[in-house]
């Protein structure tokens, strides 16, 4: 870029291009942003811009018929939470909510339209509930108003069902934590006299009273707080493998039974304090780690990619029908940018279908009347009329999702802590039995004492604490910087991955093409018209970009037009043979650069040379360089036109696969896994969905919060893709941190074991060892992650 000072849009903060709109002293990147500003300005809502700089989201073109489906009562009912004669209340999910300005604006909607009585934002869920007079403003108009100010509601068919579960589980975790914390703190307090050894001699009744109160307080800890450990352990037991929860459940059971026995028989105070402490800390760690992003959905299925409803023509009448009710032979009306719901035949209009999300192919496909259009394509240009060939449920698109990989899930893959816990549990059992045998011969009175003490002390809760706290902190840090990881397992897979598979379109390159820049231009007005006539025939993004640079030319008829994929186009205009394409094709003195180049010749003489600012994502080149220690492959659904460029981009010897179907992508990943590689997949389109699911960790690149992302393990904001190597490095370092923390806690375990085996584990020693190790681990995790993430900056 030559510009020294970059102008940014007053509304959304995007860099202003040459088409900047200037109003008063403010710059806007597009008409959309300006119109939002004017709307807010008119309604005295400028305060929006005072709270934060550039609070708006980049505007997207609003389609006039976009929310027509909200007129359909069945669909509207899903959004409306309350309704009486005059007013209704509806809840919208607005992914665009991101700052206090959003909050302020959305809660002052009443100033824009007086029929809106009240609006309330739930920031965490990115939800807005609006009360409005439905006689003055319809639900559809509310949705359009929201879209007009830059907050487009996201409405899908699956919306209604998914919601309540997440808030419910978050609250449940809060209940558990509160009750367990309460019991733990009180048990600790009541046990205190016991540690000092005062009670048993001075006041035996008081000591007994204290112990029984403790027992009472421990009941909710075991029965309610620790229930998930028991259920998980039982589940793993039935699946015939040992997960981390199994030995923990065992330790809790043993500790609790021995404590109950000691208290009831009056022989001791038990270890209820240590036990409830452990349960509390483990729950704390789990809550921290499992803090879900209620606004992000990792497991969307293909249905959410499709629109909620489409316009169906019956005779001359247009009706809106839910997408699931589309039958074969229905006549559908599709507008610009709408997704084709099912396989259809074009019956009216000229269609240009963009399959880039489905296949990765960059150039849109031209379809003539009678041609087949596949489900999932996006309509470009004017509206078209089509006849459905298949019902929605049977379209070609669903085939990919019938692959078993989608139902299998990944939960069966072992995590690090589970690997360790297996050996750990075995060791502990061996030591416990050995201690038992030893005491059986020397002093049988101590045998059970020592056996249970070993199990109590050697509870692998430290291991669980280390992983949950470390990963919990890391996940939170990542999400702050725009990288959303689904769970800790994904981080573990990222740490051990040795192979990265990239998708091309949308991942390495940006979907929108760069602007054309004329490097050499020597054409007469006549030639210009002829050349542009030829280029306007092609749907290739580069041809289009050139045509857009020169608006307004006289169009001539093109004869003998032909297009050679990956090379160029050729045709005869006004008796002159014109070629446009790569240097090789046009026979130009080619210079190898990473940019895309288009040469144009008239009758064999070079007349023009256009260079395109390459549409690589910024920072990708450097990223690939930094990632060269990994084995990399490229899986593209596009044709081979960009092969030369990609070869320069990737390290030598990188396998580049083109024209992969979604199934082939999946199989390539599978093949690598069979060779023993741990594969990380980075992709964005639906054609990567299978590969993302098959890979050990699938990362979806998300352009903005609106874009549909396929099911994956992590979502990365497009702008953060360049930092992928840093994220991987941090994941690796945190794995080392966990091993370190585990080693630290092992010291305490060994010290405890020494007491346990010798049969002298007093409640006080346990009560000192337990918090010391837990707090130590939390500190290691916290400071460790702080250090790891600070290195980045």
């Amino acid at each position: 870029m030559d510009t020294l000072t970059e102008l940014t849009c007053f509304h959304c903060g995007d860099t202003c291009t040459d088409r900047t709109i200037i109003l008063e002293d403010k710059h806007f990147c597009c008409g959309g942003c300006k119109s939002v500003y004017l709307l807010l300005n008119r309604n005295n809502l400028d305060h929006y811009y005072c709270l934060n700089t550039t609070p708006g989201s980049a505007m997207r073109a609003v389609q006039p018929e976009q929310f027509r489906f909200l007129e359909e009562p069945a669909i509207a009912r899903r959004l409306i939470t309350f309704s009486n004669k005059e007013q209704s209340q509806a809840t919208f999910y607005l992914p665009g909510i991101h700052c206090s300005s959003c909050l302020w604006l959305l809660e002052h909607l009443g100033r824009i339209h007086e029929a809106i009585l009240d609006s309330r934002v739930n920031f965490a869920a990115k939800e807005l509930s609006v009360s409005f007079l439905h006689n003055s403003i319809s639900l559809k108009e509310v949705a359009e108003l929201l879209t007009a100010i830059g907050y487009e509601p996201y409405i899908t068919t699956e919306e209604a069902e998914a919601k309540p579960a997440t808030t419910y589980s978050a609250r449940k975790a809060a209940y558990k934590l509160g009750i367990t914390g309460f019991c733990f703190a009180n048990i600790m307090l009541i046990s205190f006299p016991e540690y000092l050894g005062l009670e048993a001699f001075a006041a035996p009744q008081l000591a007994t009273f204290f112990r029984y109160v403790n027992l009472l307080l421990a009941l909710p800890v075991v029965g309610y707080g620790a229930r998930e450990f028991f259920t998980n352990a039982w589940y793993s037991f039935r699946q015939r493998y040992i997960n981390i929860d199994a030995p923990i459940a065992l330790a809790i059971t043993v500790t609790f039974s021995r404590s109950v026995y000691e208290i009831l028989s009056g022989t001791g105070a038990g270890y209820l304090d240590s036990m409830s402490g452990i349960v509390f800390f483990m729950l704390l760690g789990r809550t921290l780690q499992n803090r879900t992003y209620s606004t992000l959905r990792f497991n969307r299925d293909y249905q959410s990619y499709f629109p909620v409803a489409v316009t169906v023509l019956q005779g001359e009448q247009e009706t809106v029908r839910s997408i699931k009710e589309i039958e074969a032979d229905d006549r559908l009306l599709l507008h610009h940018q709408e997704v084709v719901p099912t396989d259809c035949i074009l019956s009216k209009g000229q269609a240009e279908i963009d399959y880039s999300f489905i296949t990765g192919e960059e150039a849109p496909e031209q379809v003539a009347i009678g041609g087949l259009i596949y489900a999932g394509g996006k309509v470009n240009g004017a509206g078209i009329e089509v006849i459905a060939v298949k019902a929605f449920s049977q379209n070609s698109f669903t085939r990919l999702w019938n692959n078993e990989i989608f139902s299998a899930g990944k939960s069966d893959r072992k995590s690090l802590s589970e690997h360790i816990s297996r050996y750990f549990s075995l060791c502990v059992l061996l030591i416990a039995t050995a201690a038992w045998c030893y005491w059986q011969y020397t002093d049988p009175a101590y045998a059970w004492n020592a056996f249970t003490a070993v199990l109590i002390v050697a509870c692998p809760c430290a291991l669980l604490l280390t992983t949950t706290f470390t990963y919990g902190h890391l996940i939170r840090h990542f999400s702050e910087s725009g990288f959303f990881v689904k769970n800790a397992r994904t981080l573990e897979q990222m740490a051990i991955a040795d192979c990265i598979a990239f998708d091309k379109t949308g991942t390495i390159t940006e979907t929108r093409g760069g602007a054309a820049e004329a490097a050499y231009l020597d054409w007469t007005a006549d030639e210009k018209n002829a050349i542009l006539s030829l280029l306007s025939q092609s749907a290739h993004p580069l041809s289009k970009a050139i045509c857009q640079t020169f608006p307004g030319f006289r169009k001539h008829a093109v004869k003998h037009y032909q297009e050679l994929a990956g090379k160029g186009i050729e045709g005869i205009v006004e008796g002159r043979r014109i070629r446009a394409g790569s240097a090789q094709y046009v026979q130009a003195p080619g210079t190898a650069t990473t940019d895309s180049n288009v040469w144009i010749s008239v009758e064999g003489v070079i007349k023009a040379h256009f260079r395109f600012a390459n549409n690589l994502r910024s920072g990708i080149q450097e990223l690939l360089h930094r990632l060269r220690s990994y084995k990399m492959i490229l899986l593209s659904g596009d044709n081979e036109s960009s092969k030369a460029r990609m070869q320069q981009l990737f390290p030598q010897g990188t396998a580049l696969y083109y024209q992969c179907s979604p199934q082939q992508k999946l199989e390539r990943i599978q093949a690598l896994q069979n060779q023993g590689h741990k594969v990380l997949m980075v992709g964005d389109g639906l054609n990567d969905a299978g590969a993302l699911q098959q890979s050990d960790a699938g990362i979806a690149v998300m352009q903005d919060s609106f874009t549909f992302s396929p099911a994956c393990d992590a979502i990365i904001q497009a702008g953060q893709t360049r930092n992928l190597d840093r994220y991987l490095k941090m994941a690796r370092q945190s794995r080392r941190l966990i091993l370190g923390g585990f080693g630290y806690s092992l010291l305490f375990n060994l010290a405890g074991l020494f007491f346990a085996v010798s049969g002298e584990l007093s409640p006080m020693i346990a009560a000192i060892l337990m918090p010391a190790s837990s707090f130590g681990i939390m500190m290691i995790a916290y400071t460790g992650v702080k250090i790891i993430t600070r290195k980045k900056a």
């Binding site: 206090s100 920031f123 965490a124 808030t167 978050a170 609250r171 209940y175 509160g178 309460f182 009273f209």
Partner: protein, 57 residues
């Protein structure tokens, strides 16, 4: 001696009261959104100023 038992019970009751308050607050959804209420506080003032300002006009 009895007084310690009494005191302990009293302290537990007080603690239970706070636990109840906490559970109620979770139940009523006060922890569902930790961003909006905190920021909403700041708006009310500026909102009033705005309207006052507008009324003057």
């Amino acid at each position: 001696m009895i007084v310690i038992i009494f005191l302990l019970s009293a302290s537990l009751l007080v603690a239970l009261f706070f636990l109840g308050a906490y559970l109620w607050s979770v139940c009523s959804g006060q922890f569902d959104d930790d961003y909006a209420p905190a920021h909403r506080i700041f708006f009310e003032d500026s909102n009033n100023n705005d309207t006052a300002h507008n009324n003057e006009k």
